[in-house]
Symmetry: C2
């Protein structure tokens, strides 16, 4: 079982994979490109993954067979494991617990060569519904405190398989970075009695220079203090702390927006590696007046080096106003 260990100074948790224990010679090899014949996420290879948790599929299709368009499976090499209890305990001055959690893969398409942004709008919308379905289901498990949905595209962004997929990890504690974000937003709310994200949306709509796109429900913009070149946030214009509250018209408009932004990023930056992360409120805190869910998209164009690790400062060589202009003008 993986072990969760807590840093006694900063309080961050680390997942130590005691079982997969990588030896020195295991590092430095780039993952080999897997052809669609061998790819476990391709249609026809359903037996190469653990049994599916969820699939959107044609009527009459058999489980774990072709005929699906979105498929969710447990990660074959999970960072955290679903069985058991937390078993919090000390180790002298240190703290640890079992590496309990869920780690799932959302396969976005049966077709190896289609990117998320290549899919029809309706299919992108179904990926969004799959995120929601899984969150709603895992939320029932009282052992989980947070669910992170994210996507790594490209080896440099941490993807080990090129077949388009997202991932979901349910954690037994609220991660430190999420706590900080929620706490920062709460501090602002206590001072101003307004949601900091709602204020950002208002100011961005006024300033306009950092806006990339807008539709009825969503705004896409480059944040004022962007850490990375072409960092782009997609945020619902009306206050809501919980992604899983999303309405049908919002899911439609989110799929339009996400597809458009990913197309723009691919066009302007020539299909860069990227991560996107769904920032959502912790599972046991709902309908928060101070928090506002959103998606942060981060192309991986610069290398994070000693200065960033040591300080948490980021050096961004592209002002967000310029990045927004390039993205706005694409297509």
């Amino acid at each position: 079982m993986p072990e969760l260990r807590r840093d006694p100074v900063e309080g961050r948790w680390v997942i130590i994979s005691t079982e997969r224990g990588k030896r020195p010679s295991d590092f430095g090899k780039e993952p080999e490109e897997i052809s669609d014949k061998l790819c476990p996420f391709c249609s026809g290879n359903e037996d190469k993954t653990p049994p599916e948790i969820l699939a959107y599929h044609n009527p009459g299709r058999e489980r774990n067979k072709p005929g699906w368009w979105v498929r969710v499976v447990p990660n074959k090499f999970p960072a955290l494991q679903i069985e058991g209890q937390l078993n919090r305990q000390g180790d002298g001055m240190y703290d640890k617990m079992h590496g309990l959690g869920a780690h799932e893969v959302i396969i976005e398409t049966p077709d190896h060569t289609q990117e998320l942004s290549d899919l029809e709008d309706k299919r992108v919308e179904d990926v969004i519904w799959a995120y929601r379905d899984r969150i709603m289901d895992l939320k029932k498990d009282p052992r989980f405190a947070y669910i992170l949905v994210f996507k790594n595209r490209g080896a440099a962004a941490g993807a080990s398989l090129s077949h388009p997929h997202s991932q979901l990890i349910a954690t037994p504690v609220v991660p430190k970075r999420v706590q900080e974000e929620v706490k920062g937003a709460k501090n602002y709310f206590e001072y101003k009695e307004r949601c900091v994200f709602c204020d950002m949306i208002k100011q961005e709509l006024n300033t306009t220079t950092r806006i990339v796109a807008e539709n009825d429900d969503f705004l896409a913009f480059e944040p004022f203090a962007s850490r990375f070149p072409f960092e782009t946030w997609v945020i619902p214009k009306v206050h809501d702390s919980d992604f899983e509250d999303i309405q049908k018209h919002e899911a439609i408009n989110l799929s339009h927006m996400l597809k458009a932004i990913l197309e723009k990023i691919d066009k302007v930056l020539d299909q860069p590696p990227f991560n996107y992360i769904l920032h959502n409120s912790p599972l046991r805190e709902n309908r928060l007046p101070h928090y506002h869910w959103h998606i942060e998209i981060m192309p991986r164009l610069t290398k994070v080096a000693g200065f960033e690790w040591g300080t948490g400062f980021y050096i961004n060589p592209t002002p967000p106003e310029e990045a927004a202009r390039f993205l706005r003008e694409a297509e």
Copy 2:
């Protein structure tokens, strides 16, 4: 002038290089390997850097000429600029200030092909004295709140030149990550009335499984909650919050230890890219009972992906106990 912008939610500062403004086509190119003929850090090319700030050199040598063994110069493309005042101001709901600071390069050797760990002990010690000399000098400038000394080795760790060098950045605010570390250590002190790092040293010396090496003044170990495979900390065994207080015998023993650890890492991991960071107390807070300076060495073997960005959780596939064993047994 670069601009410092503050994220309104999390409070982190970002350096926006408004002048160097990178366009989309500037990304994705790997830096070209520069030969020693063109390398600005090589002996004989002193005119390719801004005028030197400090050099340890042979008697009678002329400034900015050969005959040195450690040389400190301003970074030609500084992340922060030395002239001017902070000029804190608002921009609607946002906060910004001038990108004021110092950004220097510590050239560790005149020889392009020698790694820091290849240098004689006495030369490594001089690199350590150069760190200290520059900290002592910059500390006098009341505009600075923190000085970060760090080293990036290898392109994957963010180094743009292969000639062995360290860097130093003085910042006008205490970076968020440093604040968190000092605060975490202070919380522990308030609860236990003991330094958390001193407690770690005691437990590591007792447990022994995570120790890599030890000498009279320093301990090198893999932390219990290592974020990265083969992450190694080098820490003075006697409590001290301020690196710049270092005594002669400590500088000697630190140079022995640093050289030994870097040699071990190179041997076990086949000269991996790495970062190391000097964790030191903020400039205006000295002789802290709760903080303990140290160096964190992080080989860059795994890729930081969406999950790490979204949570601040790290997934480490090599238990620190195993990493320590490999490093201990090397040579």
